[in-house]
C-alpha cells in the first residue's frame, strides 16, 4: 500500500508541476510528443553517430524530389506519351503542357453528371484559329452542330460534349 501511495504522490506532484508550467500550451496529441507520467531521471541509451556516405546515399535515394523532373529524350515512349514538337515558335497558337507534362484537356461534369463539357486550357496565341480547326475536326465525329465557347482572355475553349480523348489524340498528332 505504501508503495502505491508514494507512487501516487509522485504522479500528483508531477501533474502539479505541469500545471504550474502550463503557460505555454502544449498539445500532447501523440505517443512521441507526450510527456512521461513519472520522471524517469536521466536516460542514457548507447548509440553511435555515423557519417557513412554509403548509408547517406540510401537516405538521399528515398527523399521525395522537390520539383518535377524534366522528361528525357528517348527513342520511343511505350506509354504513348510524346514530347512537344520543336517548332512551337512558328505556330499561330500554342497550348502549354501541364506541370506533369500532359496535354491540358479536361472533362467537366455538372448537373448530376448530365452536362458534359470538354475544356481545352492554357491556349495562347490565335485561339480563334484553334476554335475553327477544332470545330472542323469535331464535326467529322458528330452529327449535331458543335457548340462551343471561346474565352480569349482566360485562354480556354469550352466544348459541349465529351471529346476529351479525341481532342487529346488530335493535339498529340499535331505535335502539341
Amino acid at each position: 500500500m505504501s508503495v502505491i501511495s508514494t507512487k501516487l504522490r509522485l504522479v500528483i506532484n508531477n501533474l502539479s508541476k505541469i500545471n504550474l508550467r502550463a503557460k505555454q500550451i502544449i498539445r500532447h496529441g501523440g505517443y512521441y510528443s507526450s510527456e512521461y507520467l513519472e520522471d524517469l531521471g536521466k536516460v542514457s541509451t548507447k548509440f553511435e553517430v555515423t557519417k557513412d556516405p554509403v548509408d547517406w546515399k540510401c537516405v538521399e535515394n528515398i527523399l521525395p524530389r522537390k520539383t518535377i523532373p524534366e522528361p528525357v529524350k528517348k527513342d520511343e515512349y511505350p506509354s504513348g506519351w510524346q514530347p512537344q514538337a520543336d517548332d512551337m515558335q512558328s505556330r499561330p497558337y500554342y497550348i502549354e503542357r501541364t506541370r506533369n507534362h500532359l496535354i491540358p484537356v479536361y472533362l467537366d461534369l455538372a448537373q448530376h453528371n448530365i452536362r458534359r463539357h470538354t475544356i481545352i486550357r492554357r491556349v495562347k496565341g490565335d485561339i480563334w484559329l484553334l476554335e475553327k480547326e477544332v470545330t472542323e475536326f469535331l464535326q467529322t465525329l458528330s452529327n449535331k452542330p458543335i457548340r462551343l465557347q471561346v474565352n480569349e482572355f482566360a485562354g480556354f475553349i469550352r466544348i459541349n460534349g465529351d471529346f476529351v480523348n479525341a481532342i487529346k489524340y488530335w493535339l498529340k498528332n499535331k505535335g502539341y
Partner: protein, 292 residues
C-alpha cells in the same frame, strides 16, 4: 360575280357591325404594368412546380418513396460482413506506371518500391482508411516494356507475366500501417526524429498470399519463385529473359529484409537531415528488438 364572293358578302351582311364593343388593340401595342422578374418574366427557371426539382433535395440513393427499399428487403447479407475492416489496395495501372517511367518520374536503374511510387506524388495512399499499398492492374499490360525491379502490394497473374516478359522482376510485399505512415513522406518522417519502425509480419489472413510463390510473395521460397517464373512463361508463351546474364543483375536481385521498409536503412536508425548523420542504436536490448 363568282359564287364564293357572293357567299362572303352574304356572310358579311349577317355579321355584327364594327363598333366600340368589338374592337381591341393591336397585339403588342400595350405592355403590362407588372415587371417580370428573371429571364422569362419570373417563371420556375426550368425547375418545375414544387418538389425535389425546386428544392434540389433529390431523394437519397435507393429510396423508393415509402416502399420497403430493395436494399433493406433482405435482412442479412453475410458476405459483406466486416467489409469496413478489410484491407484495401487502391489501383494503379501498368499504363500509369509506364508513363511515370517514360516521363522520368521513376528511376529504372533503381528498384521501384512503394516509397518510389509515393515520392512521385501522383499516387495517393491513405493508410488510416485501411489502404495498404498499391494494386497494380493489367490495363496497359500489352504495351509494358520496362525492365525493372518492382515491388507492389497486390498483382494479378497477367501483371506478373507482363513484368517478367519485359525482363524485370516483381515482388509482392506487405507493410503495416505504421511503416506506411513513415513511407508516405520520408522527409517529414525523418524530421520527426523518431527511429525507423520495424516492419511487422503480415496478419493471419494475408500470410497465405505473401508466402505464395505464384503471387511472388516476399516471404516465399526464392527457388520456388524462379520455378514459378518458368511455369508462367510457358503458360503465357514467352521466352523468359535470363536475368543472370543481364548487366543490371545486381539491381534486379536487390530485395529488402522482411523487417526493413527502406532500401539500405535498418529499423531502429534515426536519420538527422540537418547534420546529415545517422544515429544507430548500440544497446543490446534495442538491437535485439529491431532484429526480431
Amino acid at each position: 360575280m363568282s359564287k364564293s364572293a357572293d357567299k362572303a358578302l352574304n356572310l358579311l351582311r349577317s355579321l355584327p357591325r364594327l363598333c366600340l364593343g368589338n374592337i381591341r388593340d393591336n397585339p403588342g401595342s400595350r405592355s403590362s404594368r407588372k415587371r417580370g422578374r428573371g429571364q422569362h418574366g419570373g417563371d420556375k427557371h426550368g425547375a418545375g412546380n414544387k418538389g425535389s426539382g425546386q428544392r434540389q433535395n433529390y431523394m437519397r440513393l435507393g429510396y423508393e418513396t415509402g416502399n420497403n427499399p430493395f436494399y433493406l428487403r433482405f435482412p442479412n447479407e453475410p458476405y459483406y460482413k466486416g467489409h469496413h475492416l478489410k484491407r484495401q489496395y487502391p489501383p494503379m495501372s501498368m499504363l500509369d506506371l509506364q508513363r511515370l517511367i517514360d516521363l522520368n518520374r521513376l528511376d529504372m536503374s533503381k528498384p521501384i518500391d512503394l516509397v518510389a511510387i509515393l515520392n512521385t506524388g501522383v499516387f495517393k495512399l491513405k493508410p488510416d482508411q485501411h489502404q495498404f499499398g498499391v494494386n497494380l492492374t493489367d490495363e496497359g499490360a500489352d504495351i509494358f516494356k520496362a525492365k525493372i525491379n518492382l515491388e507492389v502490394q497486390w498483382a494479378s497473374e497477367l501483371v506478373i507475366a507482363a513484368v517478367e516478359k519485359a525482363g524485370g522482376v516483381i515482388t509482392t510485399a506487405y507493410y503495416d500501417q505504421h511503416s506506411l505512415q513513415a513511407m508516405l513522406n520520408t522527409r517529414k518522417f525523418f524530421e520527426r526524429g523518431i527511429p525507423i519502425p520495424r516492419r511487422m509480419t503480415p496478419p493471419a489472413d494475408a500470410i497465405e498470399y505473401y508466402t505464395d510463390p505464384t503471387k511472388r510473395g516476399y516471404l516465399a521460397d526464392p527457388e520456388k519463385i524462379s520455378e514459378e517464373r518458368l511455369v508462367l512463361a510457358q503458360k503465357y508463351g514467352y521466352t523468359l529473359p535470363k536475368i543472370e546474364e543481364d548487366k543490371t543483375y545486381e539491381m534486379l536481385t536487390q530485395r529488402k529484409d522482411p523487417r526493413q521498409i527502406f532500401f539500405g536503412l535498418n529499423p531502429g536508425w534515426v536519420v538527422n537531415l540537418r547534420n546529415k548523420v545517422i544515429l544507430k542504436p548500440q544497446e543490446e536490448k534495442l538491437v535485439e528488438f529491431y532484429q526480431s
